[in-house]
Symmetry: C2
Subunit: 431 residues, 2 copies
């Protein structure tokens, strides 16, 4: 009886499904010892059994199906592992699995970000587990750490490099001086960026991950649509150069701040001070930095994507669920979104700013711009005026901390000045 | 019934005990929601109730005792939190608590390193929890990550900066060029080093932590006495300078390697390549870098000590145990030391080496030394000969990978050369 295996069904046998299967197979013996019973992959559903897969991945005919319902309706399967991705048909399949009394493991970030609360409630009602460590930053154990190890803390602030593609591009731009277009083409050639890179480049992927992290860290429901989001396509080589000159590195960060008047949630390229540990996270690596009331600063670093890293997280979750099954304790970690905190508008955010302005090279321009800042209540920390060429010059400002609506008001007024050719770029500055 | 609190008893009300109590008090409401029941600190035992404690820490007369047995024998207490430290009387008290059917949380690294296996067996027998996240690197969630999130991986290699005092001293030496004695005195003045710094400086503290980490990561019992240990008192300002010149940073690392012919376990100052993420871990910060079969590289970073960071870990464990109590699932994560792997002798370790030799400045010396290396099978990667002053010169070598017994044999032969004044220092090099 103790040796009767716990049956697993896998939905989707692409990269993550294969990575999960391989990780389960390679560590079979040790996993069985840890759970007290072996795990068995009983059934795998995929629409396409002809596409090439690594040679080590061998399934018997009995283990393969094209029908996902065969998995979620199988009375012998206790854990359904969803590796399809996207909302449809993943959501319906998971709901059906839960209603059939099955525990669920998924690495589907879009689904958890958008429908997580509903799915977790559904699982809670039935005292079932739904685990999703793989949904954020591949194998980096950030979800469990927030839910369990750091759960005695009030988390006040969180900043993450949660998208490998954009971090790779920004790293190339920083280390080699390449421009955005070339760095993106290089990332695509290397397979670090999709042929259609929009979801990564424009910060959608990062926003999903931030929604999940913030919901757990701040114990509040979070709507993805309320997250302020900017991508990196507007970051220029000149910005990278100014950042270096001023002691910063440009990173696309997912930022969450938990303050008494609401949550600040934003995905955007920022000037991050060189002293910050996140600035040493380069290439496709991910990291999440967390500030807790007792723990102080902690940071989690690793590969944020890939079949095996994500497989590592999925298998960690499967073992967790299996241990709970073995001890009749599924559902022991219910949803912890105890509140519906207000999400601040971007105009309410208070930070420092970097502003790069193209101007006509005439006497008094710097003074005029400074006067506009002053009139809008923006206090200035430093300024660089670049060498003029012909008629044009560039002025770069770093402000003190100020509310974003004041910056926006100042920029709107500046755009109307005859001497201002263009607001070339502006970004938030984080210390 | 659902609101009946889970009673906690605390042994020892020094830094960690107070940090734990404060963390529990400050987050009382959210913790109760997470568990489904409130926690109550029923009784705290300490020998000295007169020493000063932070004003926010208020216990009623009924909560205080000088008798630790009053805690471990109290039939209403379900979780005993041991914050005394050291082997005695902590070990007997924990054993007695377990035998009385109580779950245990401790941050006592020496105890877990030396007696962990016995205590875990005792807990397993009774289906009780014994948790010790706080024993390694304060609030950094490394134990739970290894035991749960990464448990689907075969961990092949682990390197950690697990002692804040020595990392602070080496950081000062690296950043400011100070020598060991001054940096130590500075650390003592700042309270980052004990008046008797032996346990930190000589690597005992790091060895305890390595024993615990290796036992979990490599699923094997580990005897502290079998860990090879070197401290940092021999690291000179010259070594720091050469390291920088050659592209390395000197760090005191706790290293564990899991190979088919045994475990390599060593605590020692090493030359670590600048490319490694651990080299950006400075000051009192700690970090553990782990290489897993599926997850690849992951790193955990944070404050490795202090009442509140350790309190964060202890409270995370208390909540974990309370959730298990609530779900009748204590003992769900038993001891995972499934084997007794052989620990390799230091002579069997294979790595690269840095060797700094003081010589008489005569023609042919470099060749003579190189010949000795060659005769012992040590292949050389690079050499720097320093400017001679008067009769003396210094030669610095970096070798290719080689077994340590060959290095030791070469050094022994070199010491007999008339031209060699002294082997000034030598260290392992990690890429």
């Amino acid at each position: 009886m103790a040796d009767k295996p716990i049956n697993i069904g896998i939905l989707g046998f692409g990269n993550v499904g294969v990575g999960t299967f391989r990780t389960l197979e390679e560590n079979k013996r040790s996993i069985a010892l840890k759970i007290g019973r072996p795990l068995k992959v009983k059934l795998v559903a995929d629409l396409d059994w002809k596409r090439p897969r690594p040679p080590a991945v061998a399934l018997s005919v009995k283990q393969k199906t094209r029908n996902p319902l065969a998995v979620v309706d199988d009375p012998e399967i206790q854990i359904v592992v969803e590796c399809i991705g996207g909302l449809r048909p993943a959501e319906e399949l998971i709901l059906r699995a839960l209603r059939n009394g099955k525990n669920v493991v998924t690495s589907n970030k879009e689904l958890i970000a958008k429908r997580g609360h509903k799915l977790l409630q559904e699982a809670d009602k039935r005292k079932l587990d739904i685990c999703f460590e793989g949904a954020v930053c591949g194998g980096i154990p950030i979800i469990r750490s927030l839910k369990e190890s750091l759960t005695g803390n009030h988390i006040s602030r969180m900043m993450g490099i949660v998208n490998g593609t954009t971090n790779y591009i920004l790293t190339r731009m920083t280390q080699e001086g390449s421009n955005f277009k070339d760095a993106l083409a290089d990332a695509q050639a290397k397979g670090c960026a999709e042929p259609d890179p929009t979801s990564d480049i424009e910060g959608f992927d990062a926003a999903y991950k931030l929604a999940i992290l913030a919901a757990i860290a701040f114990e509040s429901r979070v709507k993805v649509a309320e997250i302020y989001r900017e991508g990196i396509s507007g970051v220029g080589a000149a910005d990278i150069t100014y950042a270096r000159q001023l002691g910063y590195v440009i990173k696309l960060l997912a930022i969450g701040v938990n303050s008494s008047d609401g949550l600040e949630l934003r995905v955007q390229p920022v000037f991050l001070t060189k002293e910050h540990p996140l600035t040493s996270v380069n290439g496709v690596f991910n990291a999440v930095w967390v500030q807790g009331s007792s723990v102080g600063e902690v940071m989690f670093y690793g590969q944020g994507a890939g079949p095996l890293p994500t497989g590592s997280a999925v298998v960690g979750d499967i073992i967790e669920v299996a241990r709970n099954i073995q001890h009749h304790a599924t559902g022991r970690l219910p949803c912890t979104c105890f509140s519906d905190k207000r999400i601040k508008k971007i105009e309410e955010v208070e930070t420092k700013y970097y502003i790069r302005i193209g101007v006509l090279d005439r006497p008094g321009v710097l003074g005029k711009i400074a006067t506009v800042f002053g009139a809008e209540g923006v206090s200035l920390a430093s300024v660089i005026q670049s060498q003029a060429s012909g008629e044009e010059a560039e002025i770069v400002w770093i402000t003190h901390r100020v509310m974003e609506k004041k910056i926006r008001a100042a920029l709107a007024r500046m755009r109307r000045l005859r001497e201002v050719r263009k607001i070339n770029s502006w970004m938030r500055v984080e210390d």
